[in-house]
């Protein structure tokens, strides 16, 4: 064989060895996945009794608390450890400490937010108020528990809430606060209640879009003859809505000792934030009045856009 051909072949072989070493497929399947979460009308309805003992029923998105959604290996049906459906749990290592659910991922529809007054710690969720007047009037007129400022004076003016937020958090726009509707989500050139997280559907229930950003795809490792991301059994979607306390209007999933810290003059408090393990130990936070998924949704096709209904009311 010609010497130059041998030499060329040798270089190609050596080169191919190097290039093979670099071609490592991590076999990762990552995607933005989304779907719809439905809250029954009853979950957004509360009966109020006025001073004269007259009761009235009110349905309002402001009664919808933060919705926590997670992706789990599987979901057990009601009465399989809890009265409601519940993700499978790992080993229990300590008595009285629930096993960890080890979620693959999670998201929320509406976040617990600091409402710029100590009074509002653990009482505010994003995506529920059209504007600051809607926030102030909700507490003052509907709940009959007006926002109180640092001096204990009632706050009924939304603009005062807004300016307090700008001052405390050193921001200059509503978009930075994420407390009110600021985006024309339905492109009707108006910012109104239709631009909140939840909107009323044709059945009278409330629904919203949820998204898991850059979610790693997990599937059944023992399943044969299936295509990952298409028809292999994948993780299960499950979640619940944390309803506000009917007395204090705070959320059980909120830790009032953490979050934003305010220490000026006569103010010394924390603004609250979600507990770190709401998806790892959901049973520690789910209580009476909350609404849990009827069942888990088993994902198979990465392009599916499922609907999950939080239709089970926890009554005990």
């Amino acid at each position: 064989m010609n010497k130059s051909i041998i030499s060329f072949a040798s270089v190609m072989i050596a080169g191919s060895m190097f290039s093979t070493g670099c071609a490592y497929d991590e076999d990762l399947v990552i995607a933005n996945i989304q779907g719809t979460v439905v809250i029954p009308r009853a979950a957004a309805t509360r009966t109020f009794i006025d001073e004269e003992g007259v009761s009235s029923e009110l349905t309002d998105v402001r009664l919808i608390g933060p919705v926590y959604l997670g992706l789990f290996p599987s979901v057990l049906p009601p009465n399989s450890g809890a009265s409601y459906s519940h993700p499978e749990v790992g080993p229990i290592y300590k008595e009285d400490v629930p096993g960890d659910t080890y979620p693959y991922g999670g998201t929320t529809v509406g976040d617990l937010k600091f409402g710029c007054f100590e009074f509002l710690t653990c009482k505010i969720v994003s995506g529920r108020y059209v504007d600051f007047d809607a926030m102030a009037s909700w507490f003052a007129d509907t709940l009959q528990q007006p926002i109180l400022d640092a001096n204990g004076a009632p706050v009924t003016n939304g603009e005062y809430v807004r300016q307090t937020c700008f001052d405390l958090l050193e921001v200059t726009s509503d978009e930075e606060l994420l407390l009110t509707a600021t985006e024309d989500r339905n492109d009707d050139e108006k910012i109104n209640e239709l631009d909140l997280d939840f909107y009323e559907n044709k059945d009278g229930d409330f629904e919203a879009t949820f998204r898991f950003i850059q979610q790693d795809w997990y599937w059944d490792q023992n399943q044969k003859d299936c295509e990952v991301g298409k028809d292999c059994t994948g993780f299960s979607l499950w979640g619940w809505m944390d309803a506000p306390s009917t007395i204090s209007n705070v959320y059980q999933t909120c830790d009032p000792a953490q979050g934003y810290e305010e220490q000026t003059y006569n103010n010394d408090y924390a603004g609250g934030r979600p507990h770190a393990n709401v998806l790892n130990a959901p049973s520690s936070y789910i209580g009476k009045g909350d609404w849990v998924a009827d069942e888990g949704y088993v994902w198979k096709d990465i392009f599916e856009q499922p609907t999950i209904r939080l239709g089970f009311e926890v009554t005990q």
Binding site: I6, A14, M17, G21, Y93, Y102, Q221
Partner: protein
Amino acid sequence: MNRALFIPLLGLAAIGGCDYTGDFLFSGAIEGMDPIYHINAEDGGEFLTPIDLCPDSDPNDDDPEPGCDDNDTTDRDLVAPNTIYGEVSPTGSSIQGGITFYFEGTGRDVCVWIDPETAFYSQIVDENQSSPDLAQYSYPNNPYDDGDMDLFVGKSVYYTGSPGEVIGDFIVSYTDSLGNEVPIELSVCTQIGYQGSDVGAIHPGRGTPEYCTIFDTEIGISYTALMHTFSTPPDDDRMGYGLFLYDGDCEDFRTRAGGGGHPATDECLLLGDSIFPTAAKGNGDIDYGPWYGHNGDRSWPGSEGYENTFCTSFIGGDDMTKFCQKELRKKLEEGFKCDWEEVTDPNNRCYCGDIRDTPTGGAL
């Protein structure tokens, strides 16, 4: 060599070159000193016993409770004789090294407290020296005499290592219903960082004591503590340490052992962790402990004074800068010099750094 043959051989050599261990990047092992070993009790027993600093001396008390409560009197003199000291070598490779010991659960809290050699601080470079608390650290520290140990504690059943042979961890694997492996950390030794518990457990850096409380230990259950060798002192690669097992929680130990409850004084609770190289045992092995009880002769001369100055300076004691100036002056008077990066003569070991390393304005 034939060129046609040379090129593929070169390629193979390049691939083979990827299979290196990287051992040259690690500190060399000390011959005759173990990098991995297990500590038994002084009487040879399997378990170390948590020390009660409040032995009940009331003869009228028919049912004395172990451990300290608010009414008990602390016997601080029990700390030194019950502290365990030793040294450890690097492994000389990427293999992990460290020391393990067992203790049994008491049904109460148990504090594990370790103090690696020696003490470390960052030099202040603020030219205004505005804070008197910081100004005393304007003299540089010697960073070559400090080692770093990381502490882990958990139930022995979860420990994956082989005591005295192979270092492990407390991470067990759980397989979920989809067949995916989930690693679960079961070390119960949680150390709180500067920013609080919400940022997760931490391990302090070189020369700094590590400690954690194992709350409500289960009676009769074996616990394993791992003192993982993170780094050994660069000057001699031998890391000394002190170890104390307290029958109670660590905050209580800090208060009762003499620190007055101030975290800055942690370095003073176990003094003498900078161990002077000891003569060979006779069979060629180095005597590296463990030694049960404090013996000042075992420490590097001056090291305890350095530790004392370091921690008491925070609470109005001697000034660290003055200590360092005095150390340098003494060396010069005695005709010695400071060795930092490598100790060629034990008399040349200095605990303070090289003042010439102090940054000047605009140097940063």
